[in-house]
């Protein structure tokens, strides 16, 4: 049988057996509605409470500050719209960055249509946001700063603590989309002066469709989903009981093994990166060499296009992703790759390999074995490569 290698953990992870085992009883045996008064309900409530405690412990906050959502996207929407609508008397200005996930970017664009003003900070060629630029962008109308903890495409880890400190000093709410960070790198909400933080279970070996928003006690924001009194009147809807149980178990596992896992992944990642850079010409690493997520490798191969690269890898059993225009659905190249200054044709040849728990050293060997041949084959088909070899450069 052909080898199958999953290297798209930033898109989603599998659900760990221990996590699934804890979830399963909550479908059929312990199925009460956590809001019910009877014993069935109380059992379910206990499970939600435990998940909330585990999540709070992982972030160094109190359980009353954790609100479960349907995932990272909802948490981002809630944090930004919730703060915007609740604080519009104080000001209408929001600061964010040009490399945020669409869950943040499109929410901010919506608020612009509603009369808010948004500053999208630029990043440097590594994808780093500069705290001084955050400071300079603040006006007396600024009510929210939202900067992602770590970027989902290029893996760059942002200076969150410094930005949090600036926000705190100026009395401005600070939200961070930590969907790619939680469970992978240390996140200390108290120490980093974070007011609101989004996370999502399926990025750390929990189930899909469940996440959480941390809301620091005292932060003023409107509910996003109106209805019943769940989540202390702030997020309506009967709880996704098995999902919340799974999130709680997954975050506990991820944080307790964080250091060890991160060391292992970092070593594999660095071997993958140097292996690719050494065996293939005209390739660059996107993102920062060291300030990056343990499992993230992102390359641009000149003269070829990302989708054809993904299809070729898929034929070899390797699952990866790309920021190429041809894969985007909108036919625009990744806004992150453009924001770090890559020209369109280089963004076109991007490949993201994101490692996880189930990857082994043999997986890295396998990718390093097949990738050069794939790149070579596609380059031989590319008119740009022919021109490059002929000494002419396509402009």
């Amino acid at each position: 049988m052909q080898r199958r290698v999953y290297m798209d953990h930033a898109a989603t992870t599998y659900t760990k057996q221990e996590v699934l085992d804890e979830m399963l009883p909550y479908f059929k045996e312990i199925y009460g509605n956590p809001s019910s008064v009877h014993g069935f309900g109380r059992e379910a409530r206990k499970a939600v409470d435990l998940a909330r405690e585990r999540t709070a412990a992982a972030l160094n906050v109190s359980p009353e500050e954790i609100y479960f959502t349907s995932g990272g996207t909802e948490a981002d929407n809630w944090a930004i719209k919730g703060v915007a609508w609740a604080n519009k008397e104080r000001g209408n200005h929001i600061i964010t960055t040009s490399i945020e996930h669409h869950a943040v970017l499109h929410t901010c664009q919506y608020l612009e249509k509603m009369g808010f003003e948004v500053t999208y900070l630029p990043v440097d060629s590594y994808g780093l946001v500069y705290p001084e630029q955050v400071k300079e962008a603040i006006t007396d109308k600024t009510i929210l700063i939202s900067v992602m903890f770590a970027n989902n495409e290029i893996g760059t880890i942002e200076p969150i603590k410094e930005i949090g400190q600036i926000a705190r000093e100026r009395g401005i709410y600070f939200h961070t989309d930590a969907v790619q960070a939680v469970g992978h790198i240390p996140v200390d909400v108290k120490d980093m002066n974070i007011d609101l933080l989004s996370l999502s279970a399926h990025k750390f070996y929990g189930p899909k469709g469940v996440g959480a928003l941390y809301i620091r006690k005292g932060v003023k924001l409107h509910p996003f989903i109106h209805g019943g009194a769940q989540e202390r009147n702030r997020r309506a809807g009967t709880e996704n009981l098995p999902g919340i149980v799974g999130l709680g178990k997954a975050i506990e596992l991820a944080v307790s093994n964080l250091e060890e896992n991160s060391k292992r992944l970092t070593a594999m990642r660095d071997r993958l990166i140097s292996g690719v850079l050494n065996s293939i010409e005209n390739v660059r690493l996107n993102g920062h060499p060291t300030k990056r997520l343990p499992g993230n490798a992102n390359f641009s191969f000149e003269f070829i296009e990302g989708e054809s690269l993904l299809l070729s890898l898929d034929m070899k059993g390797i699952a990866a992703s790309s920021g190429s225009a041809c894969t985007s659905g909108s036919l625009d190249p990744s806004h992150v790759l453009l924001a770090i200054g890559l020209p369109h044709e280089i963004a076109h040849g991007s490949l993201r390999l994101t490692l996880g728990d189930d990857n082994t050293d043999e997986d890295i060997d396998y990718v390093l074995e097949v990738l050069p041949g794939i790149v070579k084959r596609l380059r031989e088909m590319s008119p740009l490569f022919a021109q490059h070899k002929g000494g002419k450069h396509y402009v």
Partner: protein, 128 residues
Amino acid sequence: MYSEKVMDHFMNPRNVGEIEDADGVGEVGNAKCGDIMKIYLKIRDNRIVDVKFKTFGCGAAIASSSMATELIKGKTIEEALELTNKAVAEALDGLPPIKMHCSVLAEQAIKAAIEDYRRRQQEKQVNS
């Protein structure tokens, strides 16, 4: 998302390469996503006797180039000019809607190569 035929033409593309002494060369770029396709024609007695391509683009673009070159090989210039992107897509057992523009690229590259051939012919006549 792609048909087996698309994958076959992507993994084993027909007619990849260049023709050194081509009679017509057409290069077109895709305004939509920034891809490039280049087609080389060898023409004898108004008939396409050889055709090669190079493509910088997605799986659908490479498969469309391969299929389009197969479809015009051995055809007269007039027949080749009648090739539509729809015919290329149909021959590939269909393309996803968002990938239809990639087959347009193939149609345009062939037209551009034939135009180049005709221009060269005219120049030859003027010069002789």
